[in-house]
Amino acid sequence: MRPPGTRRWRRTAAAVVVATAVATTGACASDGSGDGVTTLNFFQFKGEALEDFDAIIAAFEDENPDIRVVQNQVADADTIIRTLLVKGKAPDVITLNANGNFGRLAEAGVFHDFRGDPVLDTINPAVQTILTDLGTSGDEVNGLAYVNNANGVIYNAEIFEEQGLEVPTTWDELVAVCDALQEAGITPFYGTLADAWTTLPSFNGLGAYAAQDGFFDDLRAQGEDVGPDSPVSFEKDFADVLERQAQLFGYMQEGYRGRTYDDGNAAFASGDAAMLLQGIWALSPIKQANPDLRAEIFPYPSDAPDDRLLVSGVDVAVTVPKDGAHHEEAMRFVEFLFETRVVEEFAASQNMVPSVEGAQLSDDPALQSVKPYFDDGRLAGFVDHQIPPSIPLAAIDQQFLFDGDARSALATLDNEWRKVAARTIPVTED
């Protein structure tokens, strides 16, 4: 038995916690229902997009005087949205980074089903598929892709022109380009192995080919039985991926093991290396260091030029909660967000690719270089979004690039997958 005092204390403590959470997210913004103005609580995860959304909200409020939108930009949005949803205090409009966490929230059935909403038809289907692949509640569509990133090889177009090199379309061409650069005394890639996560872009780019044809669906179906003898496994299907990744890391500058992501961007910006195994997100720090640099992107090549796929993730996904109190107003705001000129302006400012069909990209050469892949729908999702976050993928990959033991790295991945499958005990309905 608990003394009654403790219970009171606990209640007080809980109240304090809730009050703090509410205060930090501003979830209690007053409704203002008296004057017929609805206040929408807009949950926004992207710190660098704060001002862009302020501008969008101002324009929206001008057109819709009966709606007021309050932007709540929070750090660590993934954790906070989880607590808010569990407490039933879902914000009216939500933007999130579409990672594995988004997929699990969608599976939990907390988001609205967008099937049948006209706004869904305006979105590039290839991009929307990437979002749906992360996880949904049944057959529903639980989020809308807003802007996308591109994960590929960033290259210095000037160096390529000076050396008379073409953008490689096959794996062998890429190797040839690297050899040619090395002969010319230019470092092909700038490696940044000190930050474990910087191994992931190339793993995702190369792994996308191995993960085609429902690799992860099969892997999930096998669960605890994944191993060298199962129909699909990392040991079976990812050996080439690691081999090629190690080959690329063989073209890195001296001392790449000790350099960090920031070092890599600075070095690439000053022309110390011809290529960088990163994504579109690295362009903004590179441009800051050297605004005149002509950086463009090509996808990781496969064996045949026509097979090439660009790995892209939904950088900003928009969704609204299931049965929200202001659903109609929230949808008006969402539709406004997806208006072509709004998304165009936002994407250009954020260096991203808009998901709305027909929306134009900014004339940045890097974005223009990946445009055909979006137009043709030759896209693949991030491999690491399919791998449970409790598997230390970045650490395992980093370890492999340090010691070169591919067999052990793949066995570790299979082993971790098995263990996670074994200890993930599904919630049963009573």
């Binding site: 989880r82 699990r104 960090t260 976050p389 409790s390 370890q399 340090f402 200890r423 993930t424 005990i425």
Partner: protein, 309 residues
Amino acid sequence: MAAQTPTAGVQAPPHEDTPRTRRPRRLAQSTFYWMVWPALILFAAFHTLPVLTGIFYSLTNYAGYGDWNFVGLANYGNLFGDDRVLQAYGFSFLFAIVATIVTNVISLAIAMGLNAKIVARNFFRGVYFVPYVLAILVIGYVFQFFFSSSLPKILSSWPLFRDNILTNETWAWTAIVVLAVWQACAFSIIIYLSGLQTIPRELYEAASLDGAKAWRQFRSITFPLISAFFTINVVLSLKSFLQVFDPIVALTNGGPGTSTESVTLLIFRGGFSGGEFAYQTANAVIFFVVITVVSLVQFRVLQRREADF
């Protein structure tokens, strides 16, 4: 300590006939209750209750949100077969033992120095306490810069340091030891200093009259007389080094690979970003038991060798 132990047989027979009348014990004034209750309630609310809640959740499959079921001891069973967990325990113990030894050797030496008659003694005492005041994460980033940028330039002829020791799978942990010891020494020095000040000066005078040199004085007087402080220091350091977290986050974040992943880092990562809340809570419960047992055993062993005086 030893005086309290009753010797069997020589005690006076207990007055069993007057248990009720012989109790002049008056309860303390209510003021003292006012002092105790708030602390007790706060302790229960913010310590005991969360621990019990944690133990409860370790028996479920709660992901941190959504629905959950009661799963019995399944999480504990899975823990024992998880080689990543075992590796984390191995790292934590290796790290803690090395760091404890280094910390205590260094801080005892510094404490002796600070206790001697030296110029600007109070200034030095203040200086050595500074690391304890600074936030470890802030200092951690300074150290990280030092290890990854300064040291490779200073010791560029030494491959281990030139290639950034933090990314060396075999030796990265030593860099964490350096940071952890650097900070932990401040607190140990304070405890040793207070211990050293309990030793009467006359003992040393008498010893030096007998011709004992400094090392002999340390071995036969100083160390035995501060052994209680030694016990406290060793137990506390081992306990806090086992729970090492922020120096790792600041320096290597568990890398390269998972070679510097401590138990606490694993619990944090797996539980919060990995979405395995219940599983890692079970890990935390086991870790709590392990630390408690290790500390108690240490106390027992070390206290037995303490000098009685």
